[in-house]
Symmetry: C2
Subunit: 600 residues, 2 copies
């Protein structure tokens, strides 16, 4: 690792003051700052995390944390983030503002029959700048896929090219081929564009969301900023409780990353949880509502078809996807084909007008090791392949969701089949969990599967927190989930040989070998915890420059002995061998007596 910027060698750095010194929110870390890499225009500035090492070198890391970690930008969750992409969207001239669908009390789960009536929690309504929704002028596609197909490199594409350290043309090609998506609703100008595809860095999604049982708007917004601070590339708002519309508005206006949702959850709230009362009209209205707010990608369980439902009856754990079970219940109740499947083309038209990306849900994913790779799962996958091709006709960007619970030896079949059936559309998997026996540790059971499936080609990993199967994640759980999945993603980047990925490991290992403790901490995925663990055993400040650590103590340190070997015998292998030959001669000349104690 050198001063040469590992990820973005071609671009100049616009350096800012050290972030950590002025922003306690980003942890106790010092020695790094928020930098920007400029693109071909002044309003195209890609954020990076620039780590400054004590040896004078620096390392540039991908940064998902948004303006919150830039001390020069004053953020205020009541105003929302600056609309970074707005001028790009307007300049394209293919969208226009319109009045939009009126927001109704029932959008927030408040029924007209509610005794108190009207919008409760009015003070929770997002107070930021007034905005009108925007959609394509003529109902045609305004998607990154449509642009890419006609050869246009948008500012969004250039932005992600800089982030990924590849050429903009590679980005355009991957999007045009449907092998990557760039989720960016025209109504979500606040995001810093990112790309999801196997040719690029593996991404991580963090789920947040309240439920009928617990949690508040403030908590969800805080979880979102907290998740992105630790590296979440997208966030899904899976709220199902009260204030579902308003919570989403706060999250969207303050999110630097694309936001995903499952519109079916809100639609179900609108019919008071009675799946059989769902209709295509209610669903469609909800999709429009969320598209107008700026949701960047939507999970749509259109692959849960009527004939597949009986395939789940003999399963160990039936249907474990909420969306999948709602659609199965609807199909059975009406004994009709899914209204999502039947109306899929109309849905494509809506998504195309806002550039909402499909995340075709795997409603029949296995919920246990016993159910992995079964007939129900793969029947749905084949339908997702069919829907993917329809979506592409409408220029709608599309990714495909995957399991779930899968033992290690059955993981590869999942990605191989998905890539084949879905024309290499990006795979977006939940884990998979490689065993069922460790509730409270499912970030780990699934981190194992996530790393493997990402190595083999999954483009984005949906995190699993320690609370999976047990409760809603709190702030600590969100952090643990994100860090675990950043590990899985980066391990996969290494295994895929992603250019530049290993330079991060090398920089940290160099720091470790040279006992540059502060550099180790600052380069760590979680500097705060690394520093804290070190200080538990050797808290004194001098210990951070000591040439040993608490594991072996001063006399006994292998790194120190290695350094002695290198110092004694020169830096390179040739020098070492030459040095040893010389020593050997001295050894003989001295009458084969021991000639050189190496330790102190």
């Amino acid at each position: 690792m050198t001063n040469k910027d590992a990820r973005t060698p071609a671009f100049s750095q616009d350096e800012q003051p050290i972030a950590g010194e002025t922003s306690p929110e980003v942890g106790k870390s010092i020695g790094w700052h928020k930098g920007y890499v400029e693109g071909s225009r002044p309003d195209l500035r890609v954020p990076v995390r620039q780590v400054h090492l004590t040896n004078g070198q620096s390392v540039t890391l991908y940064d998902t944390s948004g303006p919150y970690t830039d001390p020069l930008i004053e953020t205020d969750v009541r105003r929302g983030l600056p609309p970074l992409r707005e001028s790009w969207i307007i300049a394209r001239g293919d969208t226009a503002e319109y009045a939009g669908r009126p927001v109704r009390p029932e959008d927030d789960g408040i029924k007209h029959t509610s005794p108190r009536g009207g919008l409760r929690n009015l003070d929770a309504v997002f107070p930021g700048r007034p905005r009108q929704p925007r959609r394509s002028r003529d109902g045609e596609a305004v998607t990154q896929l449509a642009y890419a197909r006609r050869g246009e490199i948008t500012p969004e594409m250039e932005y992600v090219a800089i982030r990924e350290n590849v050429s903009p043309e590679v980005v355009r090609e991957e999007i045009a081929a449907g092998r990557a998506v760039l989720p960016a609703n025209v109504n979500h100008p606040e995001i810093e564009p990112m790309i999801i595809g196997k040719r690029f860095l593996v991404k991580v999604n963090a789920n947040i969301g309240n439920s009928a049982v617990t949690s508040s708007i403030e908590e969800e917004v805080e979880k979102m900023t907290w998740a992105t601070r630790w590296g979440a590339d997208t966030v899904m708002d899976l709220s199902t409780g009260r204030n579902i519309h308003t919570t989403r508005e706060w999250v969207l206006r303050n999110s630097p990353v694309p936001i995903g949702t499952v519109p079916l959850y809100q639609a179900l709230e609108k019919v008071d949880g009675r799946a059989e009362e769902l209709t295509w009209e209610i669903y469609k209205d909800t999709v429009v509502e969320q598209a107008e707010q700026g949701v960047d990608y939507m999970t749509v369980h259109a692959g849960v078809r009527l004939p597949y439902v009986p395939l789940t009856a003999n399963r160990k754990t039936g249907i474990v996807s909420r969306g999948g079970s709602i659609m199965a219940a609807w199909c059975l109740a009406h004994h009709k084909e899914s209204f999502l499947y039947e109306n899929f083309e109309e849905l494509c038209e809506i998504l195309a007008a806002y550039d909402v990306t499909y995340s075709l849900g795997d409603g029949l994913r296995p919920g246990s090791i016993a159910d992995a790779n079964d007939e129900a799962q793969f029947a749905e996958l084949r339908t997702l392949g069919e829907l993917n091709r329809i979506a592409k006709r409408f220029h709608v960007q599309t990714m495909i969701e995957g399991p779930g619970h899968v033992p290690m030896h059955k993981i590869k079949e999942n990605i191989d089949l998905q890539q084949e059936i879905c024309d290499e559309a990006p795979f977006y998997t939940l884990g998979p969990l490689t065993t069922d026996v460790a509730p409270a540790y499912d970030h780990i059971t699934s981190g194992i599967g996530a790393a493997m499936i990402a190595w083999w080609g999954t483009a984005m990993l949906c995190y699993v927190t320690p609370k999976e199967h047990l409760g809603l994640p709190n702030r600590d759980d969100v952090k643990t989930g994100v860090i675990t999945y950043k590990i899985a993603a980066h391990a996969a980047d290494l295994a895929k040989g992603h250019p530049g990925a290993q330079e991060w490991d090398d920089a940290l290992s160099d720091a470790r070998f040279e006992f540059r403790w502060e550099d180790q901490f600052n380069l760590a995925l979680d500097p705060d915890t690394a520093r804290e663990f070190h200080d538990e055993t050797l808290p004194a400040e001098p210990a951070k420059t000591a040439h040993f650590c608490s594991m072996c103590g001063p006399k006994f340190c292998s790194m120190k002995i290695s350094q002695d070997i290198r110092r004694e015998h020169g830096g390179s292998r040739a020098e070492v061998e030459a040095g040893m030959a010389q020593k050997s001669k001295e050894f003989a000349a001295a009458g084969n007596r021991v000639y050189l104690p190496i330790a102190d």
Copy 2:
């Protein structure tokens, strides 16, 4: 999962009262007890963990926790555990007690030059029953390998056959072929025998040990019992500080699992940390000292040969193994071939006389992603293959240690080469860590690699705790490390299709599907944490029988919908299809009106 005992169908159960009710140390769990499966003789009783489900069924799990979790056995760390195997060892008639090597102050790291002189910390000396060491009568091998080769099935072999649910003959064959080891020093009669080999359940080792900087005897004994309580199959005492001999004595006398050590660490203490002052005589004396105490397996870094040392000079992180760096320093200081390599045959004779198992150390393992699978590492591996064949001539059981830091795409080469070069001797790997960038989370970076390499054939995994690279693990770290590695090991058992492995997952998933929360907790790898996490969101007792959880709330539960589907349409797929056809007819007969809302 049925009442039929999954792992041990052929044996009757000797059931005891519920353990959890009388022993707070085993956690808040109720609903399980310590059971025993009897073998062919009354003194051969194999412990199991019998989980009693609320539906009347039970599940039998492998149990490493020793007598501590049996409320009918009164344990006292000052007396040590009962010598379970003593009568078996005596009955073989091939060993005899002898005076043994006198224990000297310097065995505890106390120098004759010490101002106070003599044995300090005398009160720390283990007060249990007096014992004399034992060794083979004629200097010949008294190893399980020797017995297996001449066709004998020892009580130890029968014991592990019951534990693994295989025939004793399979155990004998695998040991005889050198594909498995049964570490069981004749001076460690307290252990409950276990086996390490790819044909059997993947095992987990936990490292404990004080260092010059921190920690006490009591802490180390407690870490050992704590580690085995959570599932550690063996424990390595890697102490390097004061009281090294006495700490080991306490650990050995109280351990229900085999204990491993690295004798080089203690030998180095005896020369005050000066590697160049080490001699074969000091090392050999230390091996005898530890063999007489009952150490079951010893890491020996005899593969670090003089010509390999220069191969490490250009590495990112040089030599990271403590043992490896000590031997490298010695070789360079004297410019001589390693005294361990030169005297390996004599060492074999000593180990054979006590049935100490070799763990041939990988002193040149990579300490960073950059150094994985390099020339130094594989040069040493080839030497370990050579040493393995020598050890087998002396009937010494042998396993081979492996890395370290290895990116995912380079893991398989490690196990494949090791199996080829070392004639399928059991591989015993540290992780491997799949990235260097996450200090404080190296249980996870390595758990990923551990699961994969175990799937591909590694027989035992050496755990890594969150404190790796940062400090000495405390009690919580030990638990986290063990649980993480039990997950990796079990995920591998599943992927290998180990008979019975999936029944545990199935039982837990059944409990999950049927909302039997208490059964989920009791079946979990860590019942305490699973229960605690659940209670954080839904603490009330009725929530543990509720047919929903905090993630979705009562209206919205996919498991509940699945159950409705199954109830509505019968249990089997045929029934469901028949049911649906019937419904379809009703549907037509009713004039295609919606006929059956499924949700309440």
